[in-house]
Symmetry: C2
Subunit: 515 residues, 2 copies
């Protein structure tokens, strides 16, 4: 049976034997019961030898078998070699029916498709980016995929929705006892924040490194107490794709205008002030926003308490210049960010639990003033889609989108008004990732639309002359004059993926796309 949820989507009662709870509003679902699957107690003895010669040895020691759930983290991004390495070895061992539970998959993982076809992988619970998403969209996987936000994934583990049999930690440096750091080594990636929760809750933890050092590795992000075995390999990935040498700010006049409108708007409504804070990322518009925020803060002689994010050299420069007291980092995107985290105690690694876990006693997103976020689509109810394109294909993960939007004071969606002649604003988004009640401002090159729920912001913005401010319907009409109305893609009934909200309810489903 289908039930309408709070954003008016049809959600089935159950799928793949899992009972589904429909999304009930951003803050309306309470945790039930206790944390469940805490890992087994172990024993720490002197001369405990954790080193394994090969991934195969480590898999055998972990007693990998059919039907297990194994997890990965994505700090190595498009440079990652560990996911493919592990799955290939599992396939060679004749193991079938594995659930993979990565924080995200990238184009580099498109070779997993062959292992889905051969039955090694039967389910994916994790963000899907690119080719695998496309493969899933066309109905090629038997089981339904489940996508979660960063914070939602932590919640799912802690509350026992997901039990990890074996967690794999790709660690740029590790010692023989399993202490892990992403700060050092040829494959340095910065924080290991995504893997923290896996290391705490997995029954078995395997560290894979290409830079094995003698105990103790100090400082470290993940301690020996959570690690069963350590494997040294020649390479955990391609450094050139793990971090970017130097990230460049967009030269697109459209995107620069969007960044400018965003910062000017915040200034006019009084948000550029001492002790402010914000979150940005590493996308084209985000880098420009960071730079323009720095310019504005310098001009006004104000200082932020913190910047959170995916950290890049633009944020590092703000820390060095004294424009912010601290950087709080779950993911570093360039070498400058990694070097800063190595040397500056005010550049702080934060676990994803601490960053975004809704079922905790208080996570960082709730303290954010402003979150700059992207979208593939927005609708007139301010619902945001970051997962699917307008053709229905599932091509992106959720990231921290739901978490930041729910937590921060002003959620600002910065997007071009259209892409490839497709309008960005519509009556109803293809997929609801983030509910409109948590989204405050849409910024395009056409100007700014404020969520009518935010009467306070509308009041503050009423005298702004330098930026076109308009109702969302007006912005939609303006865009459609250029692009025309969009056609809905042809979709089949079958559900290929669930979009979980950060509290574990289902905010939307993704249906199979006709070829």
């Amino acid at each position: 049976m289908l039930r309408k949820n709070a954003v008016n989507r049809d959600i089935p009662d159950s799928i793949d034997n899992r009972e589904l709870h429909p999304f009930a509003g951003a803050f309306n679902t309470n945790p039930i019961g206790k944390r469940k699957f805490a890992p087994k107690l172990s024993i720490s003895k002197p001369n405990n030898d954790k080193l394994c010669k090969t991934v195969r040895d480590a898999l055998e020691k972990a007693q990998v078998r059919d039907g297990m759930t194994i997890s990965f983290h994505h700090h190595l991004r498009e440079g990652d070699a560990v996911v493919n390495m592990v799955i290939e070895e599992i396939a060679k061992m004749g193991i079938k029916n594995i659930t993979i539970f990565p924080t995200a998959l990238f184009a580099v993982h498109d070779k997993l498709i062959e292992f889905v076809k051969s039955g090694v992988i039967s389910k994916i619970e994790g963000s899907l980016n690119g080719p695998i998403g496309k493969f899933v969209s066309y109905g090629n996987m038997k089981n339904t995929c489940v996508l979660r936000s960063h914070g939602g994934r932590v919640r799912a583990i802690e509350s026992g929705d997901m039990k990890i049999d074996i967690a794999f930690i790709a660690s740029p440096t590790a010692d023989e006892f399993g202490n892990c750091s992403g700060l050092y080594g040829k494959s340095a990636c910065g924080p290991l924040a995504y893997a923290d929760i896996d290391s705490r809750y997995a029954e078995h933890v395997i560290v894979i490194t290409d830079n094995l050092v003698k105990y103790p590795l100090v400082p470290h992000s993940i301690p020996s107490t959570r690690v069963d075995t350590v494997v040294k390999v020649d390479s955990i990935g391609d450094p050139a794709l793990i971090v970017t040498g130097t990230m460049r700010i967009t030269k697109s006049p459209t995107r620069l205008l969007i960044a400018k409108y965003s910062v000017d708007f915040l200034d006019k409504i009084g948000y550029i002030k001492n002790e402010m804070n914000f979150q940005t990322g590493a996308g084209g518009i985000s880098l420009a926003v960071t730079k323009f925020m720095a310019d504005k803060m310098r001009e006004k002689n104000v200082k932020a308490k913190f910047i959170n994010g995916g950290i890049t050299k633009y944020a590092v420069e703000m820390l060095k210049e004294g424009l912010t007291d601290s950087l709080i980092d779950v993911q570093s995107f360039d070498l400058e960010a990694i070097e800063s985290m190595r040397s500056d105690k005010n550049h702080f690694e934060c676990t994803v639990d601490e960053y975004a876990n809704y079922f905790s006693k208080g996570c960082l997103v709730d303290k954010l003033d402003v979150g700059f976020l992207g979208a593939t689509e927005v609708d007139v109810n301010f619902n945001v889609n970051v997962n699917t394109h307008s053709d229905g294909l599932l091509l992106h993960g959720i990231g921290g989108h739901q978490d930041v939007a729910a937590g921060c004071d002003i959620t600002m969606i910065t997007i071009p008004a259209y892409r490839n002649r497709l309008p960005i604003i519509m009556d109803s988004v293809t997929t609801v990732t983030t509910p409109g009640e948590t989204v405050d401002v849409i910024v395009t090159e056409m100007g700014i639309a404020i969520n009518p729920l935010r009467t306070d912001l509308i009041e503050k913005a009423k005298n702004i002359k330098s930026i076109p401010i308009m109702p969302i319907h007006e912005m939609k009409n303006k865009i459609e004059k250029i692009t025309g109305k969009m056609e809905k893609p042809e979709k089949k009934d079958r559900i290929v993926a669930l979009i979980e909200y950060r509290d574990g309810t289902i905010i939307d489903v993704v249906r199979e796309v006709a070829l």
Copy 2:
């Protein structure tokens, strides 16, 4: 019914309705089942106000009630004002029958005695130092006290032996969201490592600080995600008693000789070499040992991988001089150690789980080469007592003694041959804290006795001429020629305290002392 355990002590089947497992050898007891009492899931919402005006408000918000278990940590040592402050408030509220579960109590907490008498406190699970220990020894508490090692306390929480209803974190600096650090503020104490496990497992966590700063406090040791409320008070303690201004090395020729013998012995058997490591503390002999180790390492031009401990300026100087790559710290004893931890990333705060938890996947003590430890008594089977004096009074906690002894390669007990005319070596210690199988070398001013189990060390030491090396019976006889034999104290049958081994078994009991 009483049963003999592996160190030949009589252990009852049960006490206070708790079934007791007799100690079965240092590495012979396996964990049963899973971690149990993981705390409830919570909710993190924007504008979550955690600040309470008074301790009373925080206690009411925590719904404190009769029979609860509340926990404390002892980083503020003799300077601590928080334990007394909380218990006084609980008493004013008319609450009775509280179990307190501190990491340790000190002389400053002797006023708790009145609250035991009035029925506010009915049980103590934690180390007893000084006046309260004496009070308990004379049979003044109805329930049996339970003493655990640092690692054993973490194990007891994780395995569900102890469930904490409310944990109190005395934090020298905290922000309004509950992030905690011991590095800053007038009451700075360094690490908050003892409180880490409490913050993870307690149902409710209250932070008490005298230095409230604006979010986010970066870096921090305990994150907001685990904290329910924050209370600002005028003072959490007396800075002069929290840390020592400058610690001085003993001037006692006896103690200096013991330190010299210890270091010379390690040198002769080949343990002073590159990549070595050791643990010391802040006692009189320990400081001298640290200094002599530095001298010897400088002389031999060797460098340690790490020093672990209670850290003092003597270890900090070794880090600065390049005699060690890193310091790993669960407790800082002086201002130099705190300043070093603030400014040097190679001075690393380690949780007690990571330091000493036997039921983990690998803790630091297992990687130690040498642990320098104290004792009140040693017996001819190398069993060590650190809890009671020869008069039977329970005056000291276990600290990390059992953990370090079990983990490290060479456990070296450094003690004067007699104190107040009482011999330190005897046929059978008053109380077994640490089993002889984990103790390797006894160093007194008479010379050195090596555990016969360590045939490797006896072989290595056979050509040493510069230090008197003798069997333990010979050392005992020499001491008794000076002191005479010791009389056993008169003890009653009633058990007033249990000495838990780090694995949760009972290694000994403490019986009531006749007045």
